[in-house]
């Protein structure tokens, strides 16, 4: 694990007096909204949350879905899912599609007010006959019952969609408020495995509202500029763990010192 974690980074740290645009990915915007303290520790002090194991099966679903939609992108044709859900659109063909989908590059916008380079990597984008873009994100899980966007934690999915919509608008595209989640739910009742997991695939439309994005970028920038470490979010697992771990270790150390 330690091979890919550097607890004290020296790169990608925000320096208030720097003139070079500072890159902020959409996941860091989400981190800021989730817990400003964790965000500040990460981007200002260079101490990121320890990473977990990667979700390789989910990444594989994304890869295969991309291949599948690419066939229809090349053929300028509707994917059967679009027919099934009555979506009048086709995968959007654009010279930058690979760049937009690459997590290292993505679609970017340099915010002149803050000098922050906002970026996000999309899964897909579709276009309707009116020339409007629909942002598309693939999700994969396995659960009983229908997938939906109703769980409280899924606000992260909605924000993700809205940031992408905002980024495409800032890049002068005409973007529909309607985005789509292609949600793949692994079937748990499959009798025989036969070398594959089968999925129920559902397309869930979501009407986004990106009006919060600009304001949040400004707040996030203020947070980065500040010399004060922001308060933790009350429900932040990481900050709560840090507090509890430090307290118990301290108590134990004192106790041991007394015994010695």
């Amino acid at each position: 694990m330690s091979d890919y974690y550097n607890s004290k980074r020296t790169n990608n740290i925000f320096k208030p007096d720097s003139k070079i645009p500072f890159r902020i990915s959409r996941s860091k915007i989400d981190l800021f909204l989730e817990c400003p303290r964790c965000f500040y520790m990460d981007r200002r002090l260079g101490v990121a949350r320890p990473p977990g194991y990667p979700f390789t099966l989910n990444s594989a679903v994304d890869t295969l879905l991309k291949k599948e939609f690419d066939i229809h992108r090349a053929g300028k044709s509707k994917h059967p899912l679009m027919e099934e859900y009555g979506i009048d659109a086709i995968p959007f063909e654009h010279e930058k599609i690979d760049e937009w989908r690459d997590v290292r590059r993505g679609i970017t916008y340099l915010d002149p007010e803050t000098n922050l380079l906002i970026m996000g990597a999309i899964d897909d984008v579709w276009i309707n006959p009116q020339g409007e873009l629909h942002i598309v994100d693939y999700k994969a899980t396995s659960k009983n019952g229908e997938v939906s966007l109703d769980a409280p934690w899924q606000i992260a999915y909605k924000r993700q969609m809205e940031i992408y919509q905002w980024l495409f608008r800032k890049n002068n595209f005409k973007v529909s408020n309607i985005g789509y989640f292609v949600y793949c739910n692994g079937k748990t009742d499959t009798k025989a495995f036969d070398k594959k997991i089968e999925f129920d695939v559902k397309v869930i439309p979501y009407e986004g509202d990106d009006s919060w994005v600009q304001k949040t970028i400004k707040e996030l920038h203020q947070c980065l500029l500040s010399e004060e470490i922001p308060e933790m979010a009350e429900d932040c697992d990481y900050c709560n763990y840090r507090k509890a771990a430090a307290q118990e270790a301290y108590k134990k150390m004192k106790k041991n010192a007394k015994r010695a």
């Binding site: 002090l45 997991i197 840090r242």
Partner: protein
Amino acid sequence: MQKELKLSPKSLALYFECPLCFWLKKAKGIERPSPYPFQLNLEVDAILKQEFDSCRKQGSHPLLEANNIPAKLFSNQALLDEWRNINKGLRYYDKELKATLFGLPDDILDFGNGKLAPFDYKSTGKSIPKIYDRFQLQMDVYTYLLEKNGYSTPRKAILAFYIVDKENPFEDKLPFRKEIHIIETDPSYIENIFKEAVLFLKAKAPRKHSQECLFGQWLKKQAL
């Protein structure tokens, strides 16, 4: 800690990685923040259990035959179900330590003459499967537990890797190719480690996070 102390391969791995994190979790109930669950891997495990169970009566499965594994699927379904059950598990209670070591094997192979070996399913989206140290430890613990439960073992474990085949489009399914890896297991050090970890929870030496501990590094570097 006054409750029955139960350690799993994961607990031992945590003890190896960082004794302080292990102590926080086992003695104080303070756990590292957990990631979202690995739903797809859990599902592959669940489906594979069904599949291998459906072949258990006839003893063999095409995957074992194709790889010339000279073993049958463990025939005692009831006992296997118990070993897979989180409330029971394959376990060993050490009277002196007053602690239990347990594991939840996916499956067991019977090599004849009463010899049993752990058989685990591993799924990955990476192109090349990797036998991580934590897999080795897990298999060493299962081997130890089988032996403590009176079985002899071939000192081997069989890992069935299900690797996503990314050649083709999705078509509502995630296709896998399969690879069998046989690894040697060594249960000889487990007893000592188990003992060391249990005694550690009762010891009074001052504690620090290990140097390699990511959470320790993360905690230390917080400018608080």
